[in-house]
């Protein structure tokens, strides 16, 4: 055999060249993927190879201004399953059985979840530590426990619309929870671990732990105690007056703009924020399914969560006369004692505008009396004197054409006329608060400016941020937006508004010991003539140095009466009474008030008669003894009941014969004096609430009670608008 010929050698060499070039080509191709495309591919690869488990950070606490917790997060855990790991362990039945027992869940439901063809399934969210520990002890493969937190609202139905609630993933949904979600939620941590293609953890360690950062604690300006007063009185008023469209109340500190309380009725329990409270609506919802249900449910939830005090606007009616007065006095177009003559109507731009009491015109009166009487023609007159442009400028300066800037989502700015279209007729109606809309918050903010010497403040709900150890992270300082009127005008107007309560249409807001200033308001909702009204009252006290401004709005009352002065003013009075006492504002009683002071009934039982007589004399109470014994066995009224001085306490001793009970007489529509006499004559005691005419009594007429029983009678002035 011969050696290979030259051609074979040439061709073999050619092959070497070809193979080498191909191999180099592939080397370049490989390098292209590894180096040029490497970063992208690696990113995608890591995405499929790793599992991110989020560790929720602990949500911050929401406190009231005095450090009482209003919303707290408790540590809970979430149970999840990795079905593939369970499949490998082959004990799905056992796992499901044990878990259903511990978690009190359906066996089938758990079994479905843990055998599902998926990489990761949540078995149950937010379980308590105790349950979690039990599960941990079982050491099941493929069952994981992750830290989570759950929101609790210790006070339930309390400032619900302000505080807001959180959703499934602890995210704030509305209210402060939503507004400050970013701060409250903190930074969630993560556990990154490697997984294989079927979703189980890789056998070797590849885990990264990123610590969660706790959320900040938010301190509200809300005072839990004042909020409770407001909740209580507003709730009672909303029920008594059968309000159809809700009720709202705001208490503001006029010196700082702090919202001390803000309540909306009807309310709901924050711990159960997803349940529709209205039973009728709930029944209607139960009939719906699918998309119809979700749509309607969403709308109803939105309605229920809506913070009427900040989001809804209304026609302020006569309460706005405070602003008109402020402008008039500031612009010097009227002096408090200027004379006006009300003939029941005014003609403006060819149209006759009537006073609310046109059936009995107020006649000749001073400006002060005009405010007391809430006489529309007086305000039309002064508004026309200042002119539309001035009026418009001040309405704007008082903040009615912009949002107040409160730290709350969804605030609206109200609706006012455009300056171009703001003619005399519009001006005339605007002077007594008609033809435009404001939000309750704007109203409170503007009246606070009137009360505090003329400074318009930015209202605020949050006072400070604290870290988890209670150190202040951030303080929110009061912010003055602008000086609207002079301190002198403010002082003059405070004096005038005080007389509205002491002598005018605001009498029902009167409380003993405090000088209350305020203004009533009743507006008919559009379209006019449909019999739907909004009753409101805005007041502040003490008039010489206002500590709080209170607004109460009852939207569509369906009771016997709808006047703000009748149904809203007493609510403001009660809120002011409780609040001022709580704030330890020194009461100053007039002589007249001192004469009707109330005292506490002392404990007299087991005393001998002499001791009892002395004890009663000390507190200016009279007595009547039944029986002939020496020791007091029983007494009416019982201790700590409040009685006016000189009321009679019935004392029972041994040998007292059967006492004939008394039928409570009817004192409704009587004056204070008459009612007092009728009840005392029947051997009963009276507790007088308010002044004017008796509107309510408790117990009701015809009830059989023992002698000496206290009958509570609520009096109101009815000559109000």
């Amino acid at each position: 055999m011969a050696a290979p010929n030259l051609m074979i050698k040439k061709r073999v060499l050619l092959l070497l060249v070809f193979f080498t070039l191909a191999a180099i080509g592939l080397m370049i191709r490989t390098g292209w993927w590894q180096i040029y495309e490497g970063e992208r591919l690696q990113k995608e690869a890591i995405q499929q190879q790793t599992r991110d488990r989020i560790i929720n950070s602990k949500r911050g606490t929401i406190f009231d201004r005095n450090g009482k917790p209003l919303a707290v997060s408790a540590s809970v855990e979430t149970v999840s399953a990795i079905p593939n790991e369970i499949r490998k362990a082959g004990n799905a039945e056992e796992v499901a059985a044990k878990l259903s027992q511990i978690l009190n869940m359906d066996y089938e439901e758990i079994y479905q979840k843990i055998t599902k063809n998926s990489a990761y399934e949540i078995v149950k969210r937010k379980i308590e530590k105790k349950e979690a520990d039990e599960i941990r002890k079982l050491k099941f493969k493929g069952i994981h426990l992750d830290e989570d937190s759950k929101r609790y609202y210790p006070y339930g139905n309390f400032a619900s619309h302000v505080i807001g609630a959180t959703g499934f993933d602890n995210q704030g949904l509305f209210g402060i929870e939503a507004k400050y979600d970013k701060y409250l939620k903190g930074l969630p941590g993560r556990i990154v671990s490697a997984k294989d293609a079927i979703g189980t953890d890789m056998p070797y360690k590849y885990e990264k732990y990123i610590n969660p950062e706790d959320g900040v604690n938010v301190v509200l300006t809300i005072d839990e105690v004042i909020q409770h007063f407001v909740e209580k009185h507003l709730e009672t008023a909303a029920i008594e007056n059968k309000v159809q469209n809700g009720a709202a109340a705001i208490v503001m500190d006029p010196k700082t703009g702090d919202i001390l309380a803000m309540a909306v009725k009807p309310d709901f329990d924050l711990n159960n924020a997803f349940q529709i409270q209205n039973e009728e609506t709930r029944k209607e919802l139960e009939k719906l399914t699918g998309k119809e249900f979700t749509d309607r449910y969403g709308i109803e939830l939105g309605k229920m969560w809506r913070n009427k005090a900040v989001v809804d606007s209304y026609e302020p009616g006569s309460t706005f006369k405070i602003i008109t007065s402020a402008i008039a006095l500031e612009e010097n177009v009227v002096k408090p004692n200027d004379m006006f003559n009300d003939i029941g109507y005014v003609t403006v731009g060819g149209r006759r505008i009537k006073c609310w009491r046109s059936y009995n015109p107020h006649g000749i009166q001073t400006f002060i009396q005009g405010v007391q009487n809430s006489c529309n023609p007086v305000f039309i007159e002064v508004a026309l004197r200042m002119g539309a442009e001035v009026f418009y400028r001040y309405v704007k300066a008082f903040g009615f054409m912009e949002k107040t800037g409160i730290d709350f989502d969804g605030e609206t700015a109200g609706i006012f006329h455009k300056l171009k279209a703001f003619n005399e007729l519009e001006l005339a109606t605007a002077s007594f608060g008609q033809g435009f809309q404001v939000t309750p918050l704007q109203m409170v903010t503007a009246v606070s400016a009137v009360a505090n010497g003329g400074k318009l403040l930015k209202p605020r709900l949050v006072k400070q941020f604290l870290d988890k150890d209670g150190n202040v992270i951030k303080n929110f300082e009061p912010e003055i937006v602008r000086q609207v009127i002079s301190p002198e005008t403010s002082a003059t107007l405070r004096g005038i508004l005080e007389t509205v309560v002491s002598e005018g249409t605001g009498k029902n807001a009167y409380i003993k010991g405090y000088r209350v200033a305020g203004k009533t308001g009743t507006s008919e909702k559009l379209p006019r003539g449909n019999g739907k009204y909004i009753a409101s009252f805005i007041g502040f006290a003490p008039a010489d140095d206002p500590r709080v401004v209170v607004l109460v709005i009852l939207d569509e009352p369906k009771g016997d009466v709808y006047y703000g002065g009748l149904i809203a003013a007493p609510v403001v009075g009660k809120i002011l009474d409780d609040t001022l006492r709580y704030l330890e504002v020194e009461p100053k009683f007039t002589e007249e008030e001192l004469a009707t002071m109330e005292v506490n009934v002392p404990e007299l039982r087991n005393m001998d008669v002499k001791q009892a007589q002395k004890a009663l004399k000390d507190v200016n109470l009279k007595y009547k003894i039944e029986g002939t014994g020496n020791t007091i066995i029983d007494q009416t009224p019982k201790p700590t009941a409040k009685l006016q001085e000189n009321s009679v306490v019935i004392l029972y001793t041994e040998g007292a014969g059967p006492v004939s009970n008394v039928t409570v007489p009817d004192v409704l529509k009587r004056s204070v004096l008459d009612a007092n006499k009728i009840l005392t004559d029947s051997g009963l005691n009276i507790k007088i609430i308010g002044s004017g005419t008796a509107m309510k009594q408790e117990p009701a007429a015809g009830t059989i009670v023992s002698p000496g029983t206290v009958v509570e009678v609520e009096f109101r002035h009815t000559d109000v608008d």
């Binding site: 055999m1 011969a2 050696a3 290979p4 010929n5 051609m7 074979i8 050698k9 061709r11 073999v12 060499l13 092959l15 070497l16 193979f19 080498t20 191909a22 191999a23 180099i24 592939l26 080397m27 191709r29 490989t30 390098g31 993927w33 590894q34 180096i35 495309e37 490497g38 970063e39 992208r40 591919l41 690696q42 995608e44 690869a45 890591i46 499929q48 190879q49 490697a194 997984k195 294989d196 293609a197 079927i198 890789m202 056998p203 590849y206």
Partner: protein, 366 residues
């Protein structure tokens, strides 16, 4: 005619490095899959080690078996391979829809592996005797093509497209090296291309594979899955890799990472540096092999060596081209690296033949 000398040490060393490297990578790549499948990380490597030992025996045996005696065995060997190929169609073990393996007791072999060597030996033998006739189309080239046709037809019936492609390519390379006219290949390539197109059309999965290679991301969840997983592995490696044994893609993302896609795992664990090393080792192997072919004492030894080296080269090129998404996916093992059982024995046997040829080399004498 010179006597026997020492074999080409450079070639031997390259083979041993590739074999060792291959074993390490099979172990690394197979550990995860073996653990999941058999609960024993060593399951695959244990078997591969046995094959490697058998392979070493085969190499040393062939290295001392005078290659010239293969000349006489060429026809019986060819016939044997045809019988085996026919047998596998009847009594072969079916795996994943293809009948490619024949069982002998505990051993399984792929008759296509036998056929590859058989056709190389037969072609080399015949071509070295009738050198000039190959230039004639009907009397020279045609008989080879008919034998090739029979074998290729048997292999493709298994079906085993990639095996068929390798056999055809290696045969054509041999015919080319022996001096066949390029013009004839041009004419022949027309029906060959037509045949390939036909093969693609009759099996829809081949068509999808071709399409998915052009844009694997569009077929991410099905046809493109494998190739994307391969690219993830290659890309994750970067320049220096994640470290030996630290592949993440072998955790079932790449199914049976120790088989056809082992090169991706090399890229992932050892980076471009490792991948380039592997390719360079193959270039050295091919270069040393071709050198042996050029210095062979006779045409038979020269063609034999060229054929076997081409067999390695073609498989390496196709394998790497597939895993780097440079051509459509086809199940091509990477010689020395893929855990393929009996194929390692045949490769090592082939290496032994080349070593034997090198002992008769003209100039490789110190």
């Amino acid at each position: 005619m010179k006597g026997r000398g020492a074999f080409d040490f450079g070639f031997f060393l390259t083979v041993m490095i590739l074999l060792s490297f291959g074993l390490i990578m099979v172990f690394s790549a197979s550990s995860a899959d073996a653990f999941y499948r058999y609960n024993d990380s060593y399951f695959v490597i244990k078997r591969q080690l046995i094959w490697a030992v058998l392979g070493l025996f085969a190499m040393f045996f062939m290295a001392s078996f005078n290659y010239k005696r293969l000349d006489k065995l060429a026809i019986p060997f060819l016939l044997l391979s045809i019988v085996l190929l026919a047998a596998v169609l009847v009594v072969g073990t079916e795996v994943k829809g293809a009948q490619r393996w024949l069982g002998f007791g505990g051993l399984t072999i792929q008759p296509s592996e036998v056929a590859k060597l058989a056709i190389i030996i037969f072609f080399s033998s015949r071509l070295s005797k009738k050198k000039d006739k190959i230039q004639k189309f009907f009397t020279g080239l045609m008989p080879y093509l008919m034998i090739l046709g029979v074998i290729a037809a048997l292999v493709i019936m298994e079906p085993h497209l990639s095996g068929t492609v390798v056999i055809i390519l290696v045969s054509v390379i041999l015919l080319f090296a022996a001096g066949a006219r390029i013009f004839h290949f041009v004419i022949l390539s027309l029906p060959a291309i037509a045949g390939l197109v036909y093969a693609v059309i009759i099996e829809p999965y081949r068509m999808r594979r071709i399409v998915s290679f052009l844009d694997p991301w569009q077929y991410k969840m099905n046809e493109g899955w494998q190739i994307i997983q391969s690219l993830y592995a290659i890309g994750s490696g970067g320049l220096f890799g994640l470290g030996l044994g630290r592949s993440r893609q072998k955790f079932l993302y790449i199914p049976e990472a120790h088989n056809d896609f082992i090169f991706s795992i090399i890229c992932e664990e050892l980076g471009f540096v490792g991948a380039a090393t592997v390719i360079i080792l193959f270039i050295i192997l091919i270069w040393r092999g071709i050198k042996i072919a050029l210095n062979a004492p006779d045409t038979f030894g020269s063609l034999l060596t060229t054929g076997i080296i081409s067999l390695i080269a073609v498989q390496v090129i196709i394998n790497i081209a597939v895993v780097t998404s440079s051509m459509p996916v086809t199940g091509m093992p990477l010689p020395f690296f893929s855990a393929g059982g009996s194929s390692l024995v045949f490769i090592m046997g082939g290496m032994g033949i080349i070593l034997n040829v090198s002992r008769y080399s003209n100039c490789n004498r110190g």
